[in-house]
Each structure stands twice: as C-alpha cells, then as structure tokens.
C-alpha cells in the first residue's frame, strides 16, 4: 500500500502529512494530529460526536477517508477558541448548563457554530434541525437549545 500525502488547513494552520490511506478522517485527526475532541460514538455517521467543520459545514469524520480532506479547511473544537478567548458558544454552553457528560459537546458546539455562521438569528426550529445530527443522551437537548439562543442574543 502506498502512502499518500495530504495537505489541508486544520484550525487555521496549513498542515501536511504522509500517511497510509486506509484510515478515516476521524482516526487521522485523533491519532496524527491529537485532536481528541473529535469523538467516536458510533462509527456510522449517526451520533455526530465526530463532527468537524469542513469549509464551514458540519460533516461526520467517521464517514470520510483521511485522503478526502486534501486542500480543505477543517475546524475541530480545538480550533474554536482564539488566543485563549472562548467562543461565545463555549461560554453559553457552560452558562446554560448545556454540558453534562460532555461526549457529544464538541460536535454539538461545532454544529451550532456552523448554524450561527450561516444564520445569525435562527429560530428554535432552525436550531433543532441544525442539531438533529448530534445525538445527546444526557440533557434532553433543551439546555443546548437555550445555549444557542443565548449566543444569538450576545
């Protein structure tokens, strides 16, 4: 098996790696770039815990091959806070009590971020739909909706 070279932008930094092609984007991010905020909950694109933003859009990194991100811009939760300053969603997730076990949190925040980047004033129904690919078993989603709504108001 031939190694492949992948160059992409990860959390605002240009990176490149030579790696075996038979790995998922999820595995490359976790193992080769130590982005362990990217979680594996199901491995079938259902739970959304492995969500990353590709060119600003949420995608499940467990359903992509590493080689598919050649030339793309990726954002993981590690890249969301800038110079130690938390993103507004990180603040409101804490304040609203939107975090319990925290396993879905990275993906949830990124899906919310993608929504707010595209639509700064979403309705409750738009929030629900934007988060519908991120399963949470602890919170009942309600405080998560609230956290996103608090971020709109800011």
């Amino acid at each position: 098996m031939e190694k492949i070279k992948i160059a992409f932008n990860l959390n605002d930094q240009d990176v490149s790696i030579e790696t075996m092609p038979n790995k998922r984007l999820l595995d490359m991010l976790r193992e080769d770039f130590n982005c362990t905020s990217v979680k594996e909950g199901c491995g079938e694109g259902e739970c959304g815990a492995c969500t990353v933003l590709r060119n600003g859009e949420p995608v499940t990194s467990c359903t992509m091959l590493a080689g598919q991100v050649q030339g793309e811009r990726l954002l993981t939760l590690e890249g969301l806070s800038k110079n130690g300053e938390l993103d507004i969603l990180q603040k409101t997730f804490m304040e609203a009590g939107a975090v319990q076990c925290g396993f879905c949190t990275p993906g949830m925040i990124l899906s919310a971020k993608a929504l707010l980047m595209k639509n700064p004033h979403p309705s409750r129904d738009e929030i629900r739909r934007a988060l519908s690919g991120n399963l949470c078993r602890c919170t009942g989603y309600t405080k998560i909706f609230k956290a996103v709504e608090m971020a709109i108001e800011e």
């Binding site: 909950g41 199901c42 079938e44 259902e46 739970c47 609203a96 009590g97 319990q100 076990c101 925290g102 396993f103 929030i127 629900r128 739909r129 988060l131 519908s132 991120n134 399963l135 949470c136 078993r137 602890c138 919170t139 009942g140 989603y141 309600t142 405080k143 998560i144 909706f145």
Partner: protein, 329 residues
C-alpha cells in the same frame, strides 16, 4: 386526523440501595491559603456530582465554590463512594462530604473561638468570614484563621462517612425500612397522534420533582429534561429487537433514541421539601427525572385516541392496530 391528549404520571423513588447498607465516604483538607481539597469516591458520569459535592463543602465551610477542588473516583486517593446509581450520590456522598467538612470545621471553630474569644457555638462561617452570631464586630477572615491554625500547629482535615438508615427486609414479607428517604415526582404530558399514520408527537411535558433541596437549579433541570426525553424514548421509540439471543439493532441507526427534532417543550418544576436526613435536605433526582414521564406519555396517547395500550413502546403500528385499522384484508 390529528388528535391531542393529555396524561399524568407520578412516581416515588427510594434513594440508595434497597434494604442494604450502601455507605460512601469523603476526605477533606482546608489548605493554608483557604483552598480546599475534597476527595470523594463518587464517580461523576456527567450528572454533576463533583459540582454538587463542591457546593456542599463550600456551604458547610463558609468558603466559596471556587475554593473547592474535588478529586473523585480514584481508588488510590479517594475513599469508597459506592456506585453512581440509585440516585444516591447527592444524598449519601453529599452527607459524607458534609460530615467531612463539619469535622474539619470543628477544628477551625475551636481555633477561631479562641482567637475571637467567643463560644464556638456562636460562630458562623460564611463567604470567607467567621463571625459571631451575637456580635458582628467579632469576626475574622478565613485567611486570618488559617494563619492562626498554622501558629497553633493545627490542620483542618476531616473524614466523613454516611450509610443511609435502612434495615434488611424480611425474607418472607419484605417488611422493614428499604430506604431512608424518597423522592417524588409528577409529570403531565401532551401529545398529538396522527390517526392515519399512527405517528405520535410529544408536544409538551411538565415535570415537577420533589428533590428535597435543590443544590443547583440548572443541574436539577438538566436532569429532569434529560429524563423526560429518555422517558419519551421509553414510551414511544425504544426497543431492543432480540432474536435467538442476538441483538438485531445494537446501533444508533436501528435503535432509535430521540433527536433534537423529536423532543417536546419541557417545563421543569423544582419542588423543595423540608427534611433533615439529606445534606441540607437534598435527596436525589437522577432516576426520578426519567420515571413519571413514561406513564404520563402513555396516558396522553390513550387520552388522545381513547384506547388502552398494554405494551411499551407504543409504536405507530400499535396505534393503528388499537384503532382497529389493521384487520387482515
């Protein structure tokens, strides 16, 4: 046609293991700069017990929440905490934490009483200060107290253990005291049923919980909301399909839990209730949060279409069958 219905469900839930000893313990140390190490065996699995223990320790010691550092669930460092189950940790590890803090406070009280020259019973520890309940001018800061402790070679440490007051149940009649205290709850649900497709939509859920004392409203609400949604899953979605011992749906695409699109509007009501046995009266809410939503949703579906269901979950197929629509061709 879409039909709406409402239903009520209540529950009680004994806190801790049933008719069995199930103790938990805590260690605490107030350090010279007034920061605190609290060691509890209790595992925080996302329900927030670490935060609860810190709040209880802060309250008892009269320090702020930020002062408390919690080390939890490391068997080489923390004492026995028992399982994070049976909605027992706020009650049992919470009591243990309070007792540990109280023991440390006994030493602190002794030294403060000497310094302020007032009887220990008069002293109040609050917001980083120690003062006499009879004479506000007799007061000192926690930092001054810790300096005084150091001078006397005293250490502010404590250990606490709590075992709920239960008895073993009689093997034949089950007579006895199964739990020291019970949480109670009532849920009212409103649903809409599509009588053509059998689809059930849970629209609104009110869930009122007697938690004794609410240590942290946001976290209590978080438990209730999570419980309501898990209850919705129980009532109308979830079922392991098992055939010849093999689970047919072990994955998220086949075992359906509610998504953000499926959850109702939830109105949590936190009810408090006088009592001495829990830490400041606190009981548990983790499991109670789930339970009453199940019968409430089932009752609401029955109310909407006027038929009884004997099995959970109630699926769209069940709805159409009970409406008499699935008679064979």
């Amino acid at each position: 046609m879409k039909k709406r219905g409402k239903g009520v469900g209540s529950m009680w839930y004994g806190i801790g293991n049933t008719g069995l000893p199930n103790p938990a313990a805590a260690f605490i140390e107030v350090l010279s700069d007034t920061s605190v190490n609290l060691m509890v065996g209790c595992a925080d699995i996302g329900q927030g017990s670490t935060t609860v223990m810190a709040q209880i320790a802060a309250e008892e010691l009269g320090l702020s929440y930020e002062n408390i550092h919690v080390i939890s669930a490391d068997t080489m460092v923390t004492p026995e905490g028992g399982a994070s189950s049976a909605s027992r940790q706020t009650f049992i590890s919470g009591n243990a934490t309070k007792l540990a803090a109280r023991q440390a406070k006994a030493t602190l009280t002794e030294v403060a009483a000497g310094f302020l020259n007032v009887p220990g019973e008069e002293l109040i520890f609050r917001n980083g200060e120690i003062f006499s309940s009879n004479d506000n001018s007799k007061k000192m800061t926690y930092r001054e107290l810790m300096a005084e402790m150091k001078k006397h070679g005293r250490l502010a440490v404590g250990a606490g253990a709590y075992n709920p007051k239960t008895t073993y149940l009689h093997p034949e009649t089950m007579a006895g005291i199964p739990y020291e205290v019970y949480s109670y709850a009532t849920t009212i649900a409103e649903v809409e049923v599509d009588t053509e497709t059998g689809e059930i939509e849970v629209l609104k859920v009110v869930s009122a919980h007697d938690v004794g004392l609410s240590v942290n409203d946001t976290m209590v609400e978080g438990q209730i909301e999570g419980g309501v949604v898990m209850g919705e899953g129980f009532a109308v979605f979830e079922k392991i399909e098992c055939s010849n011992g093999v689970i047919k749906n072990p994955i998220f695409s086949k075992y359906l839990i509610p998504t953000a699109m499926d959850v109702p509007d939830i109105y949590s009501v936190v009810v408090e209730c006088e009592g001495e046995c829990g830490p400041y009266g606190a009981k548990g809410v983790g499991e109670p949060a789930l339970i009453p939503s199940i019968p409430a949703i089932a009752a609401a579906v029955e109310d909407a279409i006027g038929v009884r269901f004997c099995c959970l979950p109630i699926t769209p197929t069940d709805v159409l069958r009970e409406l008499g629509k699935l008679k064979t061709q």
